[in-house]
């Protein structure tokens, strides 16, 4: 069975390490915060100028001056710091954030990512995504493996305007965990009950499949 959004987030959360500073993009990445393992702590960075995102506010706590990069109302966690956008991206561009998790329209076997526009159809803008993918050493892309018409999103070459080049190292989809290196997608894990064949079928780019592909484990 393919993973749902929360299960993708749960699998991504397994990549977290104690003491990590992490930037979570909008959508599935935001859900990762709900699945941080109990025995570790991470601090979440929001590129609008907050290090240490806390829980969503109660009705009494709602404050227009306290939002995250998705423009949702949030609170500050214990130990948070607040700073300007220039400082926030100094942090990001300077490689101080340990892990960035973000969504994408497409990725390709060279680690390129397209996530900010579909020419003639959809223009949202890149926001902070271009800085995040250029600045982070460690990038995980979350997305469905294929679109609604079963067109693969893991390509030989991205067809859409790029957000960044050669930057994606790891991908967690509803079907698999893959590593991007040496010009290919390397299959690391498959979703429980998903066959290697289905993954092969839905991966348009070059896919390297090892002899044994373990199923993801969701033991807490």
């Amino acid at each position: 069975m393919s993973l749902n959004r929360d299960q993708i987030a749960m699998r991504v959360a397994q990549e977290l390490e104690d003491g990590y500073y992490v930037n979570l993009g909008i959508g599935i990445p935001t859900l990762v915060a709900n699945y941080v393992p109990n025995d570790i702590e991470v601090m979440l960075q929001s590129e609008n100028g907050l290090l240490g995102i806390g829980p969503y506010p109660t009705e009494d706590q709602v404050d227009a001056d306290m939002i995250n990069a998705g423009k949702e109302t949030v609170t500050a966690a214990l130990g948070a710091s607040i700073f300007s956008s220039a400082e926030s991206f100094a942090m990001i561009r300077g490689g101080h954030v340990n892990l960035t998790v973000l969504g994408a329209f497409e990725v390709d076997q060279n680690g390129n990512i397209a996530s900010y526009m579909i020419p003639g159809k959809l223009v949202k803008g890149m926001g902070g995504a271009m800085d995040l993918v250029a600045g982070a050493d460690n990038i995980i892309v979350t997305m469905t493996h294929a679109d609604k018409r079963d067109n693969s999103k893991l390509l030989e070459n991205c067809s859409l305007p790029l957000t960044g080049v050669g930057c994606v190292k790891r991908i967690v989809t509803d079907l698999a965990v893959l590593e991007v290196k040496d010009g290919a997608f390397h299959l690391l894990e498959r979703a429980p009950g998903v066959s290697v064949e289905e993954i092969q079928q839905k991966t348009a780019g070059k896919l390297v499949v090892p002899e044994h592909v373990p199923e993801m484990s969701f033991d807490a």
């Binding site: 227009a64 423009k71 949702e72 607040i82 220039a86 561009r93 600045g135 960044g164 080049v165």
Partner: protein
């Protein structure tokens, strides 16, 4: 400190000198930390042909979005068009020129503009449409593109508190682009929630020193929230 008292008493005075075709640097992230009254005054003035450098362009009927209605804006320099249908429409139809700029590059362009740095290199955007027409150069084996700084005829800024000589303190994430915008205007106008006496702000805790500020006005703010998201019980 008569020569340093920057408080003005009305919005006309605050935005005096703004004319057609000028460039305005604006603080704010979405609707958070925006100088609401200054934007309303720009709408009232009806100046046209503006270039506005701001991460977003408000929403359809609030913030800078209000200036789109009357076609006052010729060009936006922004990182994000989403959540504003009129912005997206004018962009896709070609009525509005948009220089889509990565958020961190935008913040750094403002900072550099205020800091007398005409250009800097960044890896952000290399190999993407953002890099088109820009110089690429390698440092330590990595590719970077050259980005030029921005300055404005005006900067419009929202702060929490100002003292009368323009020292500013921001509150929470309403800080965002405001400190950089404050440095990048030939004339920097700041709308605040509270004006305090000189000496009330701790010198060690001032976010923007008064040297960058030309005019201060006390505003009243609606502070509209785009997405109220609450904790689950």
């Amino acid at each position: 400190m008569s020569g340093f008292n920057k408080v003005v008493s009305n919005y006309q005075e605050a935005m005096a000198g703004l004319t057609d075709d000028m460039t305005i640097i604006a603080g704010g992230f979405g609707l958070c930390g925006i100088p609401e009254g200054l934007i309303t005054e720009i709408k009232r003035l009806g100046v046209k042909g503006l270039t506005i450098v701001s991460n977003n362009c408000g929403t359809d009927n609030f913030g800078l979005g209000m200036l789109l209605e009357d076609k006052q804006i010729k060009k936006m320099v922004s990182s994000y068009v989403g959540e504003n249908a009129e912005f997206e429409r004018q962009y896709l139809s070609g009525e509005l020129e948009v220089d889509l700029t990565p958020q961190g590059t935008l913040a750094e362009k403002m900072r550099a503009g205020g800091a007398g740095i005409p250009a800097f290199y960044t890896a952000t955007g290399f190999g993407t449409p953002v890099a088109e027409g820009k110089e690429v150069r390698q440092f330590n084996g990595r590719n970077y593109i050259l980005e030029e700084s921005v300055t404005g005829d005006f900067a419009i800024v929202k702060a929490w508190k100002a003292d009368k000589i323009g020292n500013l303190v921001y509150r929470d994430t309403a800080m965002n682009f405001n400190p950089m915008a404050a440095t990048a205007g030939k004339i920097t106008v700041v709308e605040v929630e509270e004006i305090v006496e000189v000496g009330e702000l701790d010198p060690n805790q001032i976010h923007t020193p008064g040297i960058y500020v030309n005019r201060i006005i006390k505003g009243s703010f609606e502070k509209r929230i785009e997405k109220i998201t609450l904790a689950k019980n």
